[in-house]
């Protein structure tokens, strides 16, 4: 994956470039808004990671300029402003995701990977399949092997989101935002309990677990047999 990181803090940028390289991605860097915009316009990137406040041109303006020129590269906004209305402003400007500082690299990586694969992803499919687990988005039926799995509506949405991003790490915050539409920190890890409930419904009694916990990051639905 090719990434463009637009960040004026040299230390933070170096850290990100190094961390992305370690997990096998190529990251380029621009340290101000104008350079960032120029690179984003000409370069072939899979995801843009853009700091909200930049010298010369701010992050939101980069994104809205790109969008007005029909450059649809997914963009993630990094910001020290973590309030709900700031996030809404960021998304309204054409950003695809918003991550308040400080963040963990695992969180950023998970979100960037989800964004990079969103194009040509599974958005249009009506049936998601992972191993012998099948989720029909139209009839809301879930089956594992030959057995039907009965899920509560929220459990269904949770599984739907996980399966949509099968093979990718999905963090707790991402689940809370996308499945519950909450953007706050629920103090206790309520999501873990929901996951373990879901796991008991889809994995219990099967030799091959599909819902995995990724330590220090989140969860992933993956067919480990393949």
């Amino acid at each position: 994956m090719r990434l463009l990181i637009v960040e004026d803090d040299r230390d933070a940028a170096d850290y990100l470039i190094k961390a992305f390289r370690e997990v096998g991605h190529v990251a380029e860097h621009a340290s101000d808004g104008e350079d960032g915009l120029a690179l984003a316009l000409e370069g072939q990137y899979d995801v843009l990671v853009i700091d909200r406040m930049l010298p010369k041109r701010d992050g939101l303006s980069i994104i809205s300029t790109l969008r007005s020129k029909s450059v649809e590269t997914p963009a993630l906004i990094l910001s020290a402003l973590g309030q709900v209305d700031d996030r809404i402003k960021g998304l309204r400007a054409g950003g695809d995701d918003y991550l308040p500082k400080p963040y963990s690299f695992a969180e950023l990586l998970a979100r960037v990977e989800v964004l990079s694969r969103r194009r040509g992803g599974r958005g249009q499919e009506t049936v998601y399949r992972v191993g012998d687990l099948e989720l029909d988005r139209l009839s809301h039926r879930v089956t594992r092997g030959s057995e039907e799995v009965v899920l509560q509506p929220r459990e269904f949405r949770l599984l739907e989101y996980l399966m949509k991003h099968a093979g990718q790490v999905v963090t707790r915050t991402m689940l809370l935002e996308n499945v519950w539409d909450y953007h706050f920190d629920p103090q206790t890890n309520v999501i873990d309990v929901h996951i373990s409930r879901l796991r008991s419904k889809i994995d219990k009694g099967f030799a091959q677990p599909l819902l995995h916990t990724v330590r220090g990051a989140g969860y992933m639905v993956r067919d480990s047999a393949r």
Partner: protein, 471 residues
């Protein structure tokens, strides 16, 4: 600046001077007009009297000629009074009358004239003013009829001097009054300035003096006092926050530092370092969480979040939060049920209200967990409710756990306040503070009540959202 100089510089004194000048000019004008009119009236009256005399004398002349006229004038001029008569021959020899000396040439011109004269019996005295009418009879006889103007002059002088005195009085009294009023105002303003100076100096407990008269200065002082009250409360809040931040952020920071140091000193091998680093990350996540909660509270308290208020369904919030926490409750051996049958529209910040209710649910689960409960008691239970009561919307989390002692209830809402026995539980200790701040932001309140047994935490919100006028 001298005390007097300060006094002269005040707005009150300047105003007094302006008023005084305007008033004095006005009074002078009024008196002048009055004096002029009086004089005119008097003159008119005098001419009328003289004319009456003249017509009487003319009758005498017509019936008995100059001889009779002289007799009549002689008779009349002997009567006391202000009327003046004189009849002379063509050569200027006085035939009869009470006028002594006259300036030369006065008798030459017939008609009205104002002139000086001396009375016959008082020829050495001061000249008097008179208005006279001169006639010329055939054969050069000249007749003068007139009236002394002393009365008119005296009255005129009285009016003028009265005018002078009253203007002087106006100026003196005005100045004294202005002085007095200014000093009074200045004294109060000085008192206010003095208090303000101590406040600026850092003592926020000072209040401006209020006399209780309800005048404009009092009202100003009252408003400023209300402002000071608010500032003091804010400052107190700020101080508490910084104290608490110092306390509750320093503790984990110290722990963080100690662990890192410990790892550097005594870690053996990679596994130890890894463990130390992992606990460092965990600790910093906790710090971040506390920090975020603090920012959230600050935001809720600043009233800034009022900008993104919308209409939403409180029952849906209750159901959502209930659904989010239900598995966690079950895992801890609690039953969580949601009682929110009817949709209740409320105006507010959906995200913040959700978070506030989530915090209450989180607390309830933490503290109502059935570890030491008697086995035969009622099953541990948490209810999340949404209902409307009058024009208020109640979002409630009720549990039947140990509850909070009456005396501690108001304390737990304070930031970072965690009852001693709950220190072992994880959490930033900011959950209730945030819930309270969110309630206040919406013009509502957070109430903690005895659920008999257990705790009932209520977020009571006005249905229409906060009243806009409340700063």
């Amino acid at each position: 600046m001298t005390a007097l100089g300060k006094l002269f510089r005040t707005t009150t004194f300047k105003l007094t001077l302006v008023y005084l000048t305007v008033f004095a000019i006005f009074a002078a004008f009024l008196l002048g007009y009055f004096a002029w009119n009086t004089r005119r009236l008097f003159t008119e009256q005098i001419t009328a009297t003289v004319d009456a005399e003249v017509s009487g004398l003319a009758e005498q002349y017509q019936t008995g000629g100059v001889r009779r006229l002289v007799l009549a004038i002689d008779r009349r001029s002997r009567q006391p009074g202000s009327n003046l008569y004189l009849v002379t021959t063509a050569a200027g020899e006085t035939l009869a009358g009470n006028v002594g000396a006259l300036p030369a040439g006065v008798l030459e011109k017939p008609g009205w004239v104002e002139t000086e004269y001396r009375r016959l019996e008082d020829s050495e005295g001061l000249p008097h003013q008179a208005v006279v009418r001169i006639f010329e009879l055939p054969a050069g006889f000249r007749v003068l009829v007139g009236r002394d103007l002393e009365e008119r002059e005296r009255l005129y002088n009285i009016v003028i001097s009265a005018g002078r005195w009253s203007i002087a009085l106006v100026v003196v009294l005005g100045l004294a009054g202005g002085f007095f009023v200014t000093r009074r105002v200045l004294k109060r303003v000085d008192a206010m300035t003095e208090t303000t100076r101590t406040i600026v100096g850092g003592d926020l407990t000072g209040r401006l003096p209020v006399t209780g008269s309800g005048d404009e200065i009092d009202r100003l002082a009252e408003n400023l006092n209300a402002m000071l009250e608010r500032i003091e409360a804010l400052m107190r809040g700020l101080k508490e926050v910084s104290d608490n931040i110092a306390h509750d952020l320093k503790t984990p920071l110290t722990r963080l530092r100690n662990r890192s140091e410990e790892a550097l000193r005594s870690a053996k091998g990679e596994a130890d370092y890894r463990a130390a680093l992992e606990s460092t990350i965990e600790e910093s996540d906790g710090l971040m969480r506390t920090f975020n909660a603090l920012l959230m509270i600050a935001r809720a308290e600043s009233g800034h979040a009022r900008d993104d208020m919308t209409e939403f369904d409180a029952a849906e919030i209750a159901r959502g939060v209930g659904e989010l926490y239900e598995p966690l409750a079950e895992e801890k051996g609690l039953t969580l049920k949601v009682e929110a049958p009817d949709a209740i529209t409320v105006h507010g910040n959906r995200e913040l209200v959700s978070q506030a209710l989530a915090n209450l649910a989180d607390n309830a689960i933490k503290y109502a967990a059935p570890d030491e409960r008697a086995a035969d008691g009622p099953g541990p239970e948490i209810a999340v409710r949404a209902y409307s009561e009058g024009d208020r919307v109640m979002l409630v989390v009720a549990d039947n756990g140990p509850g909070i002692p009456e005396a501690d209830r108001s304390r737990v809402v304070e930031r970072f306040m965690r009852l001693e026995h709950s220190r072992s539980q994880p959490g930033s200790g900011l959950g209730l503070s945030l819930a309270a701040a969110v309630a206040r932001l919406h013009g509502g309140e957070l109430k903690l009540e005895n659920n008999q047994p257990g705790l009932q935490a209520i977020i009571a919100l006005p249905r229409g959202g906060p009243v806009q006028s409340r700063g």
